[in-house]
């Protein structure tokens, strides 16, 4: 790709500007769906943007005893990590122009960084709620990270490749991996919900127990940036699930070129992301919050074994030559 096109890709579409819009849209869509499931109206489409602008105008307080520059940098790190991860997710073509063999592993590692940032936030805020929330975030990280990696490993194992581009290209014919690995799909969705710290796994930030957990002392611009990173993580996570299990930006039986092809591919991608967001919203609306010890219990007794079983099935299928 020419330098200009690459720059356009990076900055506008599907680069940072698109990601900002996509993140805000994901938050709106999630909130609207949740509201309709709860039989209420839900916010108008510009609400996440309005919240962002409002937060920018609020007073930015750093409490005493908190290292100010480090504290202000943490939301930036989270933002950068998520934005970089999104670069490798295919949005208009079978693979992103930055894709390379092994970019799946890179995305998974980049998506772990926000949780480490949550812990840092909690630890550096001189606030007892934040500290407890930060520790809970790390405990939760140990529980869901293994199933998340294993479930993402499934497609890579089935297709013997570490490049997301190859995974998407292999599903072009219509055999989406969700049909082959439904258990892996379910595990990935649940582990994604835990990674994004949404109900039933919003334990670090449990509003009724810990005020706002690690985010308690975030205010003003820092909080605005953090919320934006969270929205972007939701969008990136959903896009990753779509790429791995639902065939990414491809429509079975359609192989057009040029601008029309890109538009059709993007439309397919968008609809699939809407489906994944719907599933995540249903998970959020239908359940109550777990306790951290209950999550650890259930995670190690149910979630990780399920992921392992899925890997086992894939290995057996490969060994038997059916795959």
């Amino acid at each position: 790709m020419s330098v200009l096109l690459l720059a356009l890709y990076l900055v506008v579409f599907p680069g940072i500007l698109f990601l900002l819009g996509f993140g805000l849209f994901s938050e709106w869509y999630d909130r609207k769906l949740t509201a309709r499931m709860q039989n209420r109206m839900g916010p108008p489409w510009f609400q996440p943007f309005a919240d962002f602008v409002k937060l920018l105008s609020k007073e930015d307080i750093t409490p005493q005893g908190v290292p100010a520059r480090l504290y202000a940098a943490i939301p930036l790190f989270a933002f950068a990590a998520v934005a970089t991860a999104f670069l490798y997710v295919p949005v208009v073509g079978a693979s992103s122009p930055f894709g390379f063999p092994g970019d799946l592993v890179l995305i998974l590692y980049l998506l772990t960084l926000p949780t480490v940032m949550v812990f840092l936030l909690g630890w550096t805020s001189s606030n007892v709620f934040a500290r407890i929330g930060g520790v809970r975030a790390v405990s939760q990280l140990f529980v869901y990270e293994v199933p998340f990696f294993l479930a993402a490993l499934g497609p890579a194992l089935a297709l013997e490749t570490w490049a997301i581009g190859d995974v998407v290209a292999a599903q072009r014919g219509g055999l989406w991996l969700v049909l082959l690995e439904p258990l892996g799909f379910a595990v990935l969705l649940i582990a994604l919900q835990a990674k994004l710290e949404r109900v039933p796994f919003d334990i670090p930030e449990a509003e009724t127990e810990l005020v706002a957990g690690p985010l308690t002392e975030l205010t003003g611009k820092k909080l605005a940036l953090w919320n934006l990173s969270k929205d972007m993580a939701l969008a990136t996570g959903a896009a990753l699930v779509v790429a791995l299990f639902l065939g990414g930006p491809t429509l079975p039986g359609v192989a057009l070129d040029g601008v029309l092809g890109a538009a059709v591919a993007f439309a397919a991608f968008f609809l699939k992301v809407l489906l994944v967001l719907l599933l995540l919203a249903i998970l959020k609306a239908a359940l109550g919050r777990l306790r951290i010890d209950q999550l650890v219990d259930w995670g190690w007794k149910v979630l990780t074994p399920a992921a392992l079983i899925q890997i086992g099935v894939v290995l057996v299928l490969k060994a038997g030559g059916w795959l």
Binding site: N39, V128, V199, P200, D202, E207, T208, E209, V211, L287
Partner: protein, 393 residues
């Protein structure tokens, strides 16, 4: 991590009203819990001594928003007993109708708040949507959604007309279907069950020893309900069951309230259909003769007791309000032992705390930077010293 003090309150998203739990935690486990309930003290008992009955009735009504009718009715029937006046039968039935509607309102509100405390916002939204139905009924009858102003000394001020009845019955029908649905959901939804079962255990003996009242006691299998044991208003004429649960934990209290919801809806339908004809107000004298009276009432949270003393004037000489929430706090302190931080909002919400009802004074020593309350023995000693010095007793 070493032991830390976690300040739950006085401002905290888990609390609807200010209360201070100073929780000492070791990691996630609770080591000790100190309670400070003085934040909503408004001096209402003293203020009632300077107002005539007709005015202090409205003051008493505003002790609490959700149990406003309970306070007002309890006070009104206490004054009527002291005056030797009996409110007419239709007035008693209307008072009972509003009381049961208030119970429905309170329990639906509580179900939503309890669901919110465990992060289950969908149930919160559904129960509060259904609460709008009972609010509309109350608005139709009394003109207001809380603080109904239905009572006057001697009877009620507004009537339940025949024109209102079809709308009330329609709303009650809808409520019965929803209340039955909630009794099923609480038994089936797994995340709710795992957060409430085995949490906040309070055995039957401890519940009796700590004087728990209301759904807290009934959830620990103590069959104590003032409506049946000391019938007042129209309760002796209306059929109902006293709901108890053998679970002895937070789930037991959830169960009791959900089933009481269904009971109250049926009682209200019965009352609307069988409302006796008659007067709304009895004639009352201006002043009450000297005397003392203890007025009891089953508020949505438990047994409410008003102690009234009059001196032959048109004002109370002493009013003492003992609310159910005040009695239930010791059971919280006991039930939370050995639990983790995540259980605090659950156990506290399970007693349905109404801090506006509860607040008592606390002593603040500014120089020593200490706050303290008086224990019973301190209070007795203080009282004896006071009367010895001031009145030479």
């Amino acid at each position: 991590m070493p032991e830390m003090e976690l300040p739950i309150g006085p401002q905290h998203p888990a609390l609807k009203e200010p209360v201070n739990f100073r929780v000492i935690v070791d990691g996630e486990r609770i080591v000790r819990l100190d309670l400070d309930i003085s934040y909503n003290h408004r001096g209402i008992e003293k203020a009632a001594e300077t107002r005539e009955f007709s005015k202090s009735l409205y003051l008493i009504e505003r002790i609490c928003g959700i149990c406003s009718h309970a306070h007002a009715t309890n006070f009104a029937k206490g004054i009527e007993a002291l005056m030797g006046v009996e409110a007419p039968r239709r007035a008693q039935w209307i008072r009972t109708l509003v009381a049961e509607l208030e119970r429905i309102h309170s329990h639906l509100l509580w179900l939503g708040v309890a669901a919110h405390e465990i992060g289950y916002n969908t149930l919160f939204m559904y129960t509060w949507r259904d609460r709008e139905t009972v609010q509309d009924i109350l608005e139709l009858i009394s003109g207001n959604r809380v603080n109904y102003g239905m009572n006057a000394i001697g009877g009620v001020r507004r009537d339940v007309t025949d024109a209102m009845k079809p709308r009330i019955l329609e709303g009650l029908q809808r409520l019965e279907a929803r209340a039955t649905y909630y009794t099923h959901v609480i038994r089936e939804e797994e995340t709710l069950l795992i957060r409430t079962r085995g949490v906040g255990r309070l055995s039957t003996d401890r519940a009796v020893a700590l004087d728990a009242v209301g759904p807290v006691a009934r959830g620990s299998n103590v069959g104590f309900d003032v409506r049946r044991d000391d019938p007042h208003l129209a309760y002796s004429e209306i059929p109902f069951d006293v709901i108890t649960s053998p679970a002895c934990d937070v789930f037991g209290r959830v169960e009791v309230r959900a089933h009481e919801l269904v009971q109250s809806v049926r009682m209200c339908a019965h009352m609307v259909e069988n409302l006796p004809p008659g007067e709304l107000m009895a004639k009352v004298p201006r002043a009450a003769p000297a005397g003392e009276y203890v007025s009891r009432y089953e508020a949505p949270r438990g047994e409410l007791v008003h102690f009234l003393r009059t001196r032959g004037t048109d004002k109370v000489d002493r009013l003492s309000v003992r609310t159910p929430t005040l009695t239930n706090w010791p059971s919280v302190v006991e039930a939370i032992q050995g639990h983790v931080i995540a259980d605090i909002p659950v156990v506290v919400a399970a007693i349905d705390p109404c801090l506006s009802c509860t607040s008592r004074m606390t002593f603040v020593d500014v120089d020593a930077k200490r706050t303290s309350s008086l224990t019973w023995d301190d209070l007795v000693e203080y009282g004896m010293r006071y009367y010895a010095e001031k009145e030479g007793l």
